[in-house]
Symmetry: C2
Subunit: 415 residues, 2 copies
Amino acid sequence: MSVEAPLQTDLRQQVHDAARRARVAARTLAALNTETKNRALHAAADSVLAHVHDVLAANAADLDAARAAGTPEAMLDRLALNPQRVDGIAAGLRQVAGLPDPVGEILRGSTLPNGLQIRQQRVPLGVVGMVYEGRPNVTVDAFGLTLKSGNAALLRGSSSAARSNEALVTALRGALLGEGLAEDAVQLLPSADRATVTHLIQARGLVDVVIPRGGAGLIDAVVRDATVPTIETGVGNCHVFVHAAADLDVAERILLNSKTRRPSVCNAAETLLIDSGIADVALPRLVSALQAAGVTVHLDPSEEELRAEFLSMDIAVAIVDGVDAAVAHVNEYGTGHTEAIVTTDLAAAQRFTERVDAAAVMVNASTAFTDGEQFGFGAEIGISTQKLHARGPMGLPELTSTKWIVWGDGHTRPS
Amino acid sequence: MSVEAPLQTDLRQQVHDAARRARVAARTLAALNTETKNRALHAAADSVLAHVHDVLAANAADLDAARAAGTPEAMLDRLALNPQRVDGIAAGLRQVAGLPDPVGEILRGSTLPNGLQIRQQRVPLGVVGMVYEGRPNVTVDAFGLTLKSGNAALLRGSSSAARSNEALVTALRGALLGEGLAEDAVQLLPSADRATVTHLIQARGLVDVVIPRGGAGLIDAVVRDATVPTIETGVGNCHVFVHAAADLDVAERILLNSKTRRPSVCNAAETLLIDSGIADVALPRLVSALQAAGVTVHLDPSEEELRAEFLSMDIAVAIVDGVDAAVAHVNEYGTGHTEAIVTTDLAAAQRFTERVDAAAVMVNASTAFTDGEQFGFGAEIGISTQKLHARGPMGLPELTSTKWIVWGDGHTRPS
């Protein structure tokens, strides 16, 4: 809350010091059993509820500042907390307590011909950095998932939510202290200066992974400048392809759900592709349905519109000649998030699912289903759109690494 | 083989063009069935054998050039091919043909309460870049593993092996062509200019992953400058910790095997840690044994020696006070590759395996066992020392990503 901007070297030092404290905390977290972690999650939920007045007061101050800065109403709504939302945040922690603990799971193992016993076991990643925008609930969600998976969290939220995040993290750290656990399992990094992000994503050797959650600009910047491994999440230019053999009732239902259910989320559809074989019937019908639902339809879209993640009640529409052209379009313009085909033709559905290069491919289902909760993971830290480590909704197992443990009896390897 | 250095923009264009051709090839590779890929691997093995004279002639030219440049004998041996080694390279391809195909494996799946059927399926990564030094056999090994896992390979070997690699890749591409497959499944990038590496690791959107294989300098440079996701491999500052309750016969055997079996490989031991509780007996005995085996023992090592990956007949020796101090030392100085404890005490072994942060932890076994072949993977593309995606020896499954495929029946998500 200092009005003076810290010197860059101080800020770097500050981030590195936090990362070192997180490393120390992470070593103790890795050794905690499931019961202890679950108890801590319930204590954290209790603490958030006990601090509800502080949290709401801090949030009101954030909202005042945002309003004074002319923040649009939709953004204010993302930032706003109220008693119901705080209840929901606490309930989220209890839900994570109920999820299976991934740490210690044996993934593979065998006794080698020479008698060596090898096993591959899940272990925490260590120190997980999160860079995110907007909603203060992400602060608590990230804490819950990282704690349950035995990791320490270094959180860098947006400056617009700084006071809310501070109040929430204070509640979380208090709960950890009360349980006799390392407070530094969760730390909030300063958000006033963009350079914090740079220092975090370049703290190689101190931070094990950084997960950016936000718009394309944030994610591109993180990936470009990071030396710490990162997981790209959540940029979704998702398509709905209406194949020549589609049932148009089904197509209309899926299209509207994919576009209008929650236009601001990453699994919302941004482009409608219509097979030329049914364009004369399907185009007018689907465009009318979209317009009737309040969607602005970009017919004859520009290259830029085809690449856009609108995150609004807008959609681009393009005509393609059959499945292969649809696949080519999706693989060229998509962001590898979620792609849907509507068809009654099995071969078309199979070709589309096989050839589309994305985290999730839907057949006759809304793009809105790509979601950790929907997939049965209970909660998610984000939706990975990259191919390494995790792809699609990331639950607790995706917040772990593995370690090979080998038991011998004086074994040496022959040359 | 042009004597003129290409302009930087041309070189970048050249790498990007190769990556685009690889992308096109990768899409066809992803759809191949296992039989077709296995047939191609056998054809590739036949072709390497059929080209043995070209390969050996090219290798002789590489060796002449290296000798003229004053390359040390050990390096020349790494570079050298002979008929037996070429036989071994071809046999490696046939061995990969015999391994299970990871592509298409269903990892998880369920029918959700709403009837949606979701399944997580292994898919190829797409375009895999490899940057490596020295041995020309890596060229063929990398091709075999990437092809079997349905990926296209962009190979950037060392300039010292340029002619050998060229001859091998010509043989491999000929085999692909003969099988009616995309030749661009394997491409060799120019090796004369270091900038090729930079262009490859920054071809985000064109290349899906880059795996550097080589010394710490290469790997650091790749990780620092890459915007494409990378997998760090093979830097091993491995420790053998002789605990107070160790059987010294076992300790001596494991230590000598870990250090001297092949000192130039990444799983060789570089530091011996001796528990202070038995230092008076263990130190003189183990140091004598090392010296008798021709190892240069660095007693009272500098900070630099404690961090060194000697890759030679050198070892640093340090005394530590018990398991926790050994763990702290290993976690501070190690590179997260392989760490071994020698002990008869169960609690000490468990504490060490739980707390050491490394890809592999050995109890009473040589560090030399961290190896894809030893672990039963059949072959490996490298040994990952990072925590994301893959950790330890990387076999075929580690060269894949996953995709969620969701089958519905007009499913929409309620708000």
